[in-house]
């Protein structure tokens, strides 16, 4: 499904099924986004990368 980027209003493609806490990147502005609601699907800016994140 296609959603709107909260930063630049560009289109953001989300692969079905969309999941809560899913991360996506806006192809237009490169913002990292997070799915914060499913009904309706809502996108917000994802949190900044934390120091202890990683594989």
């Amino acid at each position: 499904m296609t959603q709107t980027c909260p930063e630049c209003e560009g289109p953001v493609q989300l692969a079905e099924p969309v999941r809560l806490s899913e991360v996506a990147q806006c192809a237009d502005c490169s913002s990292e986004l997070e799915v914060v609601g499913l009904d309706p699907v809502t996108l917000a800016l994802a949190p900044e990368i934390e120091e202890d994140w990683g594989e």
Binding site: R19, S21, E22, V23, D52, G54, E55
Partner: protein, 289 residues
């Protein structure tokens, strides 16, 4: 059946594949976002936390990306009687390069030559003894962040001075490794319990081959020369679902590190339909339940 908890604050490609694998197998599960996880100690009121009182979950799969939250989430769930993959002791070992190296050393797993110094000043001496070029790595952290390859004492001192200026005492512990003259690639072996799921070559232009740095993955044949050290490394850190990174040394594969929160997008893309990493992960969690 009680649900399997999947702990994750970020649902990436990997977590979506895992949810789909659980659904295909008809396993009830609950996605637990660790940012909204709390638990009262001392047998507090029911519903007082995500873990609640007593084992609410048949098992837990820990996919949390934050090392601290992953470590403590496993610790809490274990204390609540939930079989957790990976266990907190495994996360603690894998989250610290020196602890990993000490376990590998104890188990006799072939690894690159490694040294540790407890102060930045001594780090320069240790680098000299190890012989240049060396890689200076932070004890914690991943995706190859803050790792520096240095080719002489002067460069080592510059990195170590910078390290000494960092506020965290942990950054003052200097972990050094020989820079193995590798053929522009390393090997990632994914292990789930006693099963080797598969292996990929990871190619990169620089000396770092982390997938997070844009490495390209290709299938790597599983040979005993590879499976044996990978399995021994996985057992040495306590087992579970692990990504063992190896490098092809002149005398055979050497284990570089063991990751407890395995990213497998590149691996899955490289293998296509031949291997299903998410399903192998789910199978291992169900065994642990």
């Amino acid at each position: 059946m009680r649900p399997v908890a999947v702990l994750a604050s970020r649902v990436r490609y990997e977590e979506k594949r895992i949810f789909a694998a659980l659904e295909r197998r008809g396993v009830p599960y609950a996605h637990v976002d660790t940012r909204r996880f709390s638990s009262e100690l001392g047998g507090g009121a029911p519903g007082g936390g995500a873990a609640g009182a007593g084992p609410r979950y048949a098992a837990a799969l820990n996919r949390e990306i934050s090392h601290s939250r992953a470590l403590y989430a496993s610790m809490i769930l274990e204390a609540r009687g939930v079989p957790t993959v990976n266990r907190s002791d495994v996360i603690a070992v894998c989250g610290d390069k020196l602890r990993t190296s000490l376990e590998l050393e104890r188990a006799g797993v072939p690894s690159p030559r490694t040294a540790v110094a407890l102060t930045p000043d001594e780090g320069a001496e240790a680098a000299e003894r190890l012989g240049f070029p060396v890689v200076i790595k932070p004890l914690t952290g991943s995706w190859g962040r803050l790792a520096a390859a240095v080719r002489d004492r002067e460069a080592a001192q510059a990195v170590l001075e910078h390290r000494a200026a960092l506020p965290s005492p942990l950054q003052h512990i200097v972990y050094l490794q020989e820079l193995v003259d590798k053929p522009g690639r390393d090997i990632r072996v994914i292990v789930a319990g006693e099963t080797v799921v598969g292996a990929t070559y990871r190619y990169a232009d620089g000396w770092r081959t982390n997938a997070a740095r844009g490495a390209r993955s290709e299938p790597c044949p599983l040979t005993s020369a590879l499976v044996e050290p990978a399995m021994r490394a996985a057992r040495a850190v306590g087992g579970g679902i692990l990504g063992v990174d190896l490098i092809e040394g002149p005398g055979g594969p050497l284990v570089l590190e063991v990751n407890h929160n395995v990213e497998f997008r590149g691996f899955q893309d490289a293998h296509g339909e031949a291997v299903d990493v998410a399903d192998a992960i789910v199978a291992h969690v169900l065994e642990a339940a």
